[in-house]
Amino acid sequence: MAAAGTLAGLVAWPAQGRARTARWPVAALTGGSTADASFLKGIGPGHDAISLDQDWQGLESQLDRLAGYRLVGLLDPGRHTVVEAMLQARNARLLSLGSHQDGRHRISTAPAAHGVGAALAHGLARAGFEHQVAEAGLGPVAGSFTGVADLAAGDWAGLMGEALGRIAAGNWVPGEPRQLRRAGRPNSHSNDSLVSFVVQL
């Protein structure tokens, strides 16, 4: 599918969509960045929260406990590399994987998460933040999306948290343009380099 250069046509997320019952139990994994609070707030209530220190053994046990969950994460690249290995060993299915730095976002999505890039780009543009978002979709449905706006890093973490939380809960309509609601000022601003992901355990 051709890249979309415009964000026109995005529609607000329907109220019934937000209220839809989660189809998956959701856990959130964060690593102590300044963006954690926004990210977790974006995901919303009703998830198990795990904060990762260097206790890798402890994380192994936590992951064992989370079989059948969808795990939403936001970690620095170093920690993510290790967590990713643990997840792959568990045969986890990866739905979305994003790198975020200095207002730039590069996201790879499986079909169940298609459209995250568009939604993030729209949310940031609406709040007037400078950003660049590239989404590479893998799968037969949505192809790829690239959105670049000429417009600061903004509350990308809150927006990503909301989008990924919906995907994790099974309340995301893949590929359909959606407007995320968290477009205000960030609760906590972060230019840290971070990696976001959603996996099904």
Binding site: R93, S108, T109, L138, P140, S193, Q200
Partner: protein, 513 residues
């Protein structure tokens, strides 16, 4: 029908669907994937290349040698190529992604049996999916008096994959292929080859005598695509009575010449029995900090700025690390020589009794004793953005080589705005000059710069006669070319003889049939 959207080159959708159905009949439907949710993990790379060029058509995970034999029969039937990974942690070299788009990843993670660990003869025989952590835990649980050698990704990587890519560790057994002993290989036609003494019925010397009889074949299964290695034997180091890790800091960049020239005779004579780690201080800073915390400008960090930051953080401009192993008497004798040598050079000697609680000392101590440590992953936070490509030319272990290679490297890094985060790892007679090209993959300009930078480094180093010991999936062809057309052609002839349909990892190390 499969839900595949990417097909192997030259394979029709109908044939691919038939192959997938037959793969599922062999390994079970739960272990064959063409859905994007499973493929996506195999597309995650750190190297400066477009994921699309290395996206697999699917993945499958056999659980036995017999299943691999049957899979290869299907691959031959439908000409479906498979890219084999053991644990798939080839960070900075392509991770688990194939050299070319559309290959099926054959992930051997389910084949994770520790078949044998012999504490008397000090060897192990393992399957490809075994991780260093798994083997380390096994040794600890059984209280076996042996040590492992592992590369920097340690816990999450595995001995088979690392050895087959000719990776290295940091104990006296750190040259992993050198200390391997006996392979089991499934050939493209399904035959099973056991190398060395392994071909003999009832032999009990497979893991103790490397050479067997006739041509020694193990080497052709490393950095190659001539077979699927399903078992690997390797030697373990006996746990030493005394372990004495040490560091030496030097405060001037020009000291590198005398450092290497002093290490060489100590290393060749085995007075220092392990590889010697000599990192530039910016490497150590990068492990412990984020670049944005210490320097905010683009471009390669100027050397004077780097030196100021290095000193401020308490590192040497050069940081030597190695270790001694043996009886108290052996260690004492060798330590006297080493201490005298480095003192005469003006180095600041660090020993555990004085700096044992230092984080950096602790993790290097782990590295040199084959204990898993994940500290080095901090480097991926230096630039951020998930980009890493290792540039690792080989040099003679001579001080003069260091300055020449550093000058060449920095000139190219300057052009592309990449920091000099590097280490010299001194082997018995060689050095690996390992430079981690860290860049931001979210920034298309940085990604292109990192790609072009690496390509130029390979070209310029080759022009000076320097080869690369290992490279990533994006540069295998270019690096293979630097070793000459005759070698490339012989590699191809062997490939054609052993794998006429080209089903095993086409493009690995630049080898196609």
């Amino acid at each position: 029908m499969s839900n595949a959207t990417i097909l192997p080159q030259g394979v029709s959708k109908a044939d691919f669907d038939k192959a997938i159905a037959e793969f599922k009949a062999i390994v079970g439907a739960d272990w064959v994937w063409t859905d994007p949710e499973h493929i996506l993990q195999y597309t995650k790379i750190m190297i400066p290349a477009d994921e699309a060029r290395h996206t697999p058509s699917g993945a499958l995970a056999p659980a036995s040698v017999e299943e691999i034999q049957r899979i290869l029969a299907v691959c031959n039937k439908y000409k479906v190529p498979v890219w084999t990974v053991s644990t798939g942690r080839n960070f900075g070299y392509g991770s688990a992604s194939p050299a070319t788009r559309g290959q099926m990843v054959m992930d051997l993670k389910r084949m994770n049996k520790i078949i044998e660990v012999d504490p008397d003869l000090c060897y192990a025989l393992v399957e490809p999916g075994v991780t260093y952590k798994q083997l380390y835990d096994y040794i600890q649980e059984h209280n076996l008096p042996v040590w492992l050698s592992m590369p920097l990704p340690s816990a999450i990587a595995g001995p088979v994959g690392n050895t087959l890519d000719r990776g290295v560790g940091y104990t006296p057994y750190g040259e992993h292929f050198l200390f391997s002993c006996g392979m089991e290989v499934v050939m493209a036609n399904g035959e099973i080859l056991r190398t060395g003494m392994g071909g003999m019925p009832n032999s009990n010397t497979w893991q103790v005598f490397k050479w067997g009889y006739g041509p020694y074949l193990d080497g052709i299964f490393t950095q190659s695509n001539y077979g699927v290695v399903t078992k690997l034997g390797f030697w373990l180091m006996p746990k030493p009575p005394v372990y004495k890790p040490f560091g030496v800091q030097f405060d001037s960049e020009a000291d590198i010449v005398k450092i290497i020239d002093a290490i060489r005779p100590l290393r060749i004579a085995n007075i220092i029995p392990s590889a010697v780690w000599v990192s530039h201080g910016l490497w150590d800073v990068a492990v412990m900090s984020k670049r944005s915390e210490v320097y905010g400008k683009p471009g390669r960090m100027p050397d004077d700025v780097a030196e100021e930051i290095i000193r401020k953080q308490g590192f040497g401009i050069w940081n030597v690390f190695a270790a001694l192993y043996g009886t108290p008497e052996q260690v004492e004798v060798n330590w006297k020589m080493i201490e005298a040598t480095f003192k005469s050079l003006g180095g600041k000697i660090l020993v555990e009794e004085e700096v044992g609680n230092d984080i950096c000392f602790q993790y290097r101590k782990s590295m040199f004793s084959g204990t898993p440590t994940l500290r080095e992953f901090g480097m991926y936070n230096w630039r951020g953005g998930g980009g890493s490509q290792w540039f690792a030319p080989v040099a003679q272990a001579r001080g003069s080589e260091t300055l020449k290679q550093m000058k060449m490297t920095r000139a190219v890094l300057d052009e592309y705005g990449i920091d000099y985060t590097a280490v010299f790892i001194v082997g018995w007679r060689d050095m690996h000059h390992v430079v981690d090209l860290l860049y931001d993959r979210t920034n298309p300009v940085e990604m292109k710069n990192a790609h072009d930078c690496y390509a130029k480094l390979v070209k310029q180093f080759a022009a000076e006669g320097y080869g690369i010991y290992r490279t990533s999936i994006a540069f295998m062809d270019q690096v293979a070319d630097t070793f000459g057309p005759v070698k490339k052609e012989i590699n191809r002839k062997i490939k054609r003889a052993l794998d006429p349909n080209g089903i095993l990892a086409p493009g690995k190390s630049g080898i196609f049939n």
